[in-house]
């Protein structure tokens, strides 16, 4: 097999190059810089930064919860949507396409308000549940598109070969196409993960006590806006960088048998 095909999605946070294990790269400098800055602030100005970090603590946990749960749900929704989008069944294809079209046409902030406050009149969902549903439904649509692109990027010869070897449609998809697609789509999916993590800050408008909401509570009470948002930004940066490194490691693992 030759070089695997790449689909290029140029937006979002950069996933560090999986082959770059050197000490001096953008990722290394950012994370060391962020951690050094946090430690510097905590050591030199323990008041208010120590108090602030303690206050933000459970917010970080909530942000983490929302992110992880939403990533899992969004992946499942995305896979189903992606398969629907490449389905030869017209009805399934249409349903999946319409879902993607509608969701991608509505800002996430509006979706959050809609699910919590508008639909809340009919079905009373917990704020955290509403946040996770909105994030999953929204990112499911985006990931569906990534899955579709990944599947269609596989050479047609692959499915033709599988079919001529006697694989049925399902086997072709799950044993031949998806394992190959997974490798190509990992970078863009990783980008979606990181975008999702950053967008979880929007759930604070539902009064979910996430990292940003905790920061806002702290600053509105103490008026320490500079200190609070510096710390909130640094914490987000560290989490995002760790996640992007995780994706990069996964990518390296999955492509270990690609010859170059």
């Amino acid at each position: 097999m030759t070089e695997s095909r790449k689909i290029d999605v140029g937006e979002g946070a950069a996933i560090p190059n999986k082959n770059d294990w050197g000490l001096f790269n953008a990722w290394m400098i950012s994370i060391v810089g962020a951690i050094v800055a946090i430690i510097y602030l905590l050591v030199v100005h323990p008041n208010p930064y120590m108090r602030l970090l303690t206050y933000l603590g459970d917010g970080i946990v909530i942000t983490f919860e929302v992110t992880v749960t939403s990533i899992i749900c969004a992946c499942a929704i995305g896979l189903i949507t992606g398969l629907g989008r490449v389905s030869k069944n017209k009805a399934i294809n249409l349903v999946a396409s319409t879902y993607v079209e509608i969701i991608r046409g509505i800002p996430l902030l509006v979706q959050l308000f809609y699910i919590y406050y508008a639909l809340g009149r009919f079905l009373n969902v917990h704020d955290l549940t509403a946040a996770i549903i909105a994030m999953s439904v929204c990112y499911g649509a985006y990931m569906g598109e990534v899955f579709r692109a990944g599947i269609t990027a596989i050479d047609k010869g692959q499915s033709e070969a599988a079919r001529s070897l006697g694989f049925n449609g399902k086997q072709t998809m799950f044993l031949v196409m998806l394992p190959q697609a997974w490798r190509t789509i990992l970078p863009p999916v990783g980008n979606e993960f990181i975008a999702l993590l950053k967008d979880t800050s929007l759930v604070s408008i539902l009064a979910v006590s996430d990292l940003l909401r905790r920061g806002r509570e702290f600053s509105s009470e103490t008026f320490l806006y500079f200190e609070t948002y510096t710390m909130v930004a640094l914490v987000y940066l560290v989490i995002t960088l760790l996640l992007s490194k995780g994706v990069s490691i996964m990518e390296a693992r999955l492509s270990h048998y690609v010859r170059r």
Binding site: I29, G33, A37, N124, A207, R216
Partner: protein, 268 residues
């Protein structure tokens, strides 16, 4: 070898830059204050820009013509007439309204701001406009009459308000939720996501008698040993603006205009 040297130099430069940025941030903050004071010393402005979080009926809200109206708006307008300045209102979200005052985006805050010792440390206040109380609002079928009656339940208040400060340190709630707008807290109470909302008395009365009169009710007044007054906040040491506002407020209180406005808005 050359490449390694190059990357070391770059890394060193980057970390130095990062540290100076953090350091500068601190210095700038201190430097900003005297500079701001200098602008405040300029001749008395004819127009005073008031920031209002217009999501707070009946005190300040937007009507269907998108104008900022309400009891406090009328008070300020009347005071402006007496003291001879022009009042301009700017709709500003509550969360961050104080930060905007500190950075000089507007001259004053007219947004039912309770006068507290903590706030006095970072800004100045006009003479009190009127006293308010903290009220607990619950669903119509709730039996709770005070905060203790909501043990194990979720309670909400607007972020950064004195209402939030009242519940903040009370133990025993399942959750204390902070909302950007008091209306969203009331909405969550109506939906049943939370079981109580603490709000300023005028707002609590408005929501329980008008908007959601069939769904929520006032459970009781949260008694406090201190009187809570609302006033106009101005930037620290902005005497010109403060004097003008106080002059206007004193004038309308003296000649009965204030009571007339209260009557118009059916305030107690």
């Amino acid at each position: 070898m050359k490449r390694l040297f190059k990357s070391i130099v770059i890394a060193a430069a980057m970390s130095a830059l990062a540290l100076t940025v953090v350091g500068c941030g601190k210095k700038e903050e201190k430097a900003a204050e005297p500079a701001a004071n200098a602008t405040a010393a300029a001749p008395a402005p004819k127009t005073i820009v008031f920031a209002s979080d217009a999501t707070y009926p009946p005190m300040q809200y937007t009507n269907d013509q998108k104008e900022i109206v309400g009891f406090e708006v009328d008070v300020i307008k009347a005071a402006a007439e007496k003291a001879g300045f022009k009042a301009e209102f700017k709709n500003v979200a509550w969360d961050g309204i104080f930060a905007g005052l500190a950075t000089g985006k507007y001259d004053a805050i007219s947004s039912s701001v309770s006068i507290t010792e903590e706030r006095k440390a970072t800004m100045d206040f006009s003479d009190p406009i009127m006293p308010i109380e903290q009220i607990l609002v619950v669903a119509k079928d709730s039996k709770a009459t005070d905060l203790a009656g909501l043990k194990g339940k979720s309670i909400g208040a607007q972020i950064g308000t004195t209402s939030y400060l009242v519940v903040k340190d009370v133990k025993g709630f399942k959750a204390i939720k902070t909302y950007d707008e008091v209306g969203l807290a009331m909405e969550d109470l109506v939906k049943g996501s939370i079981q109580g909302v603490v709000a300023d008395s005028p707002v609590a009365v408005e929501y329980t008698t008008k908007k959601y009169s069939d769904k929520i009710k006032i459970a009781g007044v949260l008694k406090s040993d201190k009187v809570e007054n609302i006033g106009i906040a101005v930037k620290k040491d902005n005497k010109e603006v403060l004097d003008l506002i106080n002059k206007g407020l004193a004038a309308i209180k003296a000649d009965g205009t204030f009571d007339k406005i209260k009557e118009q808005h059916q305030m107690k």
